[in-house]
Symmetry: C2
Subunit: 141 residues, 2 copies
Amino acid sequence: MRLLKTSEYAIRVLSHMARNEAERYSVSSLHRALGIPYKYLGRLMRKLTKAGLVDAARGKTGGYVITRPPGSIHLIEIVEAVEGLEDFDHCILGFEACSSDQPCPLHDQWGVQRDSIRRMLEEASLEDLALKFEEESEASD
Amino acid sequence: MRLLKTSEYAIRVLSHMARNEAERYSVSSLHRALGIPYKYLGRLMRKLTKAGLVDAARGKTGGYVITRPPGSIHLIEIVEAVEGLEDFDHCILGFEACSSDQPCPLHDQWGVQRDSIRRMLEEASLEDLALKFEEESEASD
DNA sequence: TGGATATTCTACCTCCAGGTGGGAAATGAG
DNA sequence: CTCATTTCCCACCTGGAGGTAGAATATCCA
């Protein structure tokens, strides 16, 4: 009952980048700021680039930038890009045929839970997260 | 956002066994009834034996039997025996320090979801599942 | 007593997430 | 031009989930 670690990483990276929308972040600066393993982070950023969430520039002044306004990027999109959403349609008891026609004993209950989680990820934007993080760092001053 | 396949297997096996509380089920009969890979199922049954959920008997009339009344065994116990409950205390954004004192942006929302799922698994017993399965097989007659 | 049927054990295998290492290729600064 | 900094691409390693193979051990029954 959790996201893949890579999805967690992706959300943390992007909400960090959302605090300065226009700034170019290098892998090494993100690594220093967030403590995510350097090499692994590089591969993750490439993945986010291919997914169109960030833009990459090589060379000395290169780095990554968010492609769209943070308010328009919701967590569900990040999760989808990194690990896909297949598991959100998965029966909690693993029955292939489970559906509203042929429901497993927990079908309805689990459906409510799953939709609720999905809605949470659909409604939370990077801007929301970035703002909350701002508040926290101000509070700790 | 799903249980391990092994937890799904375990729930299916045990709710099947719950339909005839006193019967001894061999691995091969469970394999035939449920389609779970034979050898893998053997290892799972050994695990459930060590967890105390079933009792094993060797030899010609041997097999497995549920140790306690199905109404007293809840899904959360099965999940705990197979995959543990660590992930149920895990921050949705993966922050180590995330707590009510130092909440991540989604801490409260995710807490509600997580507790709700946990409660579903705590309240559903093997007896409940077995009864529902009975209803289904009657309906398909 | 011996065979048939059952659990049990050890050892492997494949696949994927997570993580590491070495070097390419691109690009701006000096 | 040269060099440092960056992204990019390659191969590899580890651990765990899921799955398979073969034999050892225990028990009933004829």
